[in-house]
Point group: C2
Chain length 357, copies 2
């Protein structure tokens, strides 16, 4: 069956990196029997500029139709002063919510070829390979009530609600236990159970699930300690599961530990295997349009798509191996370059991957 | 006028490090004209064991009476299974709230003598000197409603409320602008204004205050990016201001960047100059009672107390210099030791500081 893939380039470097990812998909289709059909839709700032809405109806409908979404990046200073529902980010948040993409998988991997790019000492990060499983459709991002009001005494007061029910926690918990099982069998659940009621329920449910996964070792850590431990000794972690807000913060910190955030893909999955695949990095408006952005994060997101949605682990491995070869051969975009290596443009890097498939 | 200082040793290594801090205070009183009166009170797990309450009435009353509180550390596995109001942490949270200690100052300083202890490369952290100003009596730590209920469909659901009003934000904002003014004049406000209503109000108020501080340069950063930037290039920060939850996470990460979290003090201030002073590190139950804990964080907390509450910047400098001398002479507790240096016990380190005052 032909799989439908919707490409949503978005803003900043989004379009130029998506172009390289599409070349990879096209090559897999023409030379390796990948049966796909590509479509494209507006999202983010580009959609605001064209239609006044960061997620136009047609884009949402196309995303619902698709088996997988390949997402570039969104946002930029042009839209920063807009009210929140007229900002690029809200398009992405709505997309996650409308599609039920509750499980966000964010690997933080140190590529041995890039070990020296990290801000951390080599002995601290060599071999780093963490998978952060972030809940993506609940918590304080979506909890009601939220808003701004004026109190009786005439003061403005703003509020957001962090909220999780047991079904939401159980479902992300199972995704995380399954992930840990397929990896080293170690799962660390991060919360703030010494302060938050939400975290107490979170911890309770995780402990309950542990009985169904006797082969997985579950530990708990407070979020402040987790932020410290990520800096002090990141290799103690294998799979980490946490809520939407803590996951946002910790996954970015973990990605940055590797020094090669331009290399890191992510997957946001629903319950049926549909996924949205996007780089961990953002839209990088400062370098947009210059042809220097690193396309490897989105190309590796294509690999995740092949593995998780398209059932083509064989092709996923092909793409990942091609990325390894490119690095071995010293090809580097500007973000990961050093004296010994060869500066490649976005397009040259994409072309190299296509050639090596 | 005699200043009243209440010592609250708490749990784990708390009592043994407090003992050294008290020796320093006693020496300043007998040899350097510091006019103080010391009292002691139970808090945390020690108070739960003795009186069934992590903050007994008598302790709270004594803290109200005091001009400053010297706080050791709280918590440990012995109390981890208790309901939240019967846990050590809730004693500290109530103390902060009851005393109105809204401004938490957490320096992250790299001591040049300890540069190699950091997990980060020397060039990334050399000279690091960040001050994090964390709001401490509001936000999701204290917001109502919070709790656990069962929904109509029979599911357990837990919720917490992140809430700030403009007066709370303005007051921590002013504390932060004042702090930045006395430092380099650069203030970075950290929020999640692309997602949270609370952060939009936060940003609004900070922008409004900027007019009163033309000599301070205000910037804004999203919390996920801040967590990344702390790892990538921490020296870009000088003063950082943020809410209670983000401050909890970021200040721990920042402290750990220095590699010498056993060296870092903190101050929690009310509007009138009263303060609670405590180390950034926790109760470290695994090493409690062994005489190996580093007393320098609490001794440097005494220095902050001298400067901020007792009006004795001269003595604060004396204490800080003594710590510098001890490090220069190669004295090290176990947490900051290496081959070239001399292992000192908690008591030896405390004694060395007293000798060098
Ligand atoms: C753009 C923003 C709303 C988003 C988030 O906070 O989830 C981003 O930071 C991410 O992590 O994908
Ligand atoms: C012990 C805990 C409640 C506390 C907090 O979260 O504020 C601690 O982590 C801190 O930062 O002082």
């Amino acid at each position: 069956m032909t799989a439908k893939i919707l490409v949503m380039p978005g803003d900043g470097v989004g379009p130029e990196i998506c172009r390289e990812a599409v070349r990879v998909l096209d090559a897999l289709a023409s030379d390796h029997g990948l049966d796909i059909e590509l479509d494209e839709a507006l999202v983010g700032g580009a959609a605001i500029d064209a239609e006044g809405d960061p997620l136009p109806e047609a884009s949402l409908a196309a995303a619902r139709e698709a088996d997988a979404v390949l997402f570039g990046a969104i946002g930029g200073p042009a839209w920063d002063e807009q009210p929140r529902d007229k900002r690029p980010e809200s398009g992405l948040l709505r997309l996650r919510s409308e599609l039920g993409l509750f499980a966000n998988l964010r690997p933080a991997i140190l590529y041995p070829q890039l070990a020296h790019v990290s801000a951390l000492k080599p002995e601290i990060v060599a071999g780093l390979d963490i998978m952060i499983v972030r809940e993506l459709t609940g918590g304080i991002y979506f909890g009601k009530p939220s808003g701004l009001h004026t109190t009786a005494s005439g003061r403005r007061e703003a509020y957001n609600t962090m909220r999780y029910d047991e079904a939401e926690i159980e479902r992300i918990g199972r995704a995380a236990f399954d992930t840990a099982r397929a990896r080293s069998g170690r799962l660390c659940s991060v919360d703030k159970a010494n302060v938050l009621d939400v975290s107490q329920l979170w911890r309770d449910i995780m402990n309950g699930l542990a009985g169904d996964y006797p082969d997985v070792e579950l530990t708990h850590m407070y979020v402040d300690n987790a932020a410290m431990q990520l800096v002090r000794a990141p290799k103690q972690f294998d799979t980490v599961v946490t809520g939407n807000l803590f996951g946002d913060i910790l996954s970015d910190a973990a990605a940055m530990l590797t020094g090669s955030i331009g290399m890191l893909p992510s997957a946001s999955m629903d319950a049926a295997g549909k996924g949205l695949y996007e780089p961990v990095h953002g839209s990088a408006p400062d370098i947009a349009g210059q042809g220097v952005a690193n396309p490897l994060a989105i190309i590796l997101s294509v690999a995740m798509m092949l593995r998780y949605t398209l059932g083509r682990a064989d092709l996923a491995a092909k793409v990942e191996n091609a990325v390894g070869y490119a690095l071995d051969r010293g090809l580097r975009t500007r973000d990961i370059m050093d004296d010994e290596t060869q500066m490649a443009s976005t397009q040259e890097m994409g072309g190299a991957i296509v050639d090596m498939l």
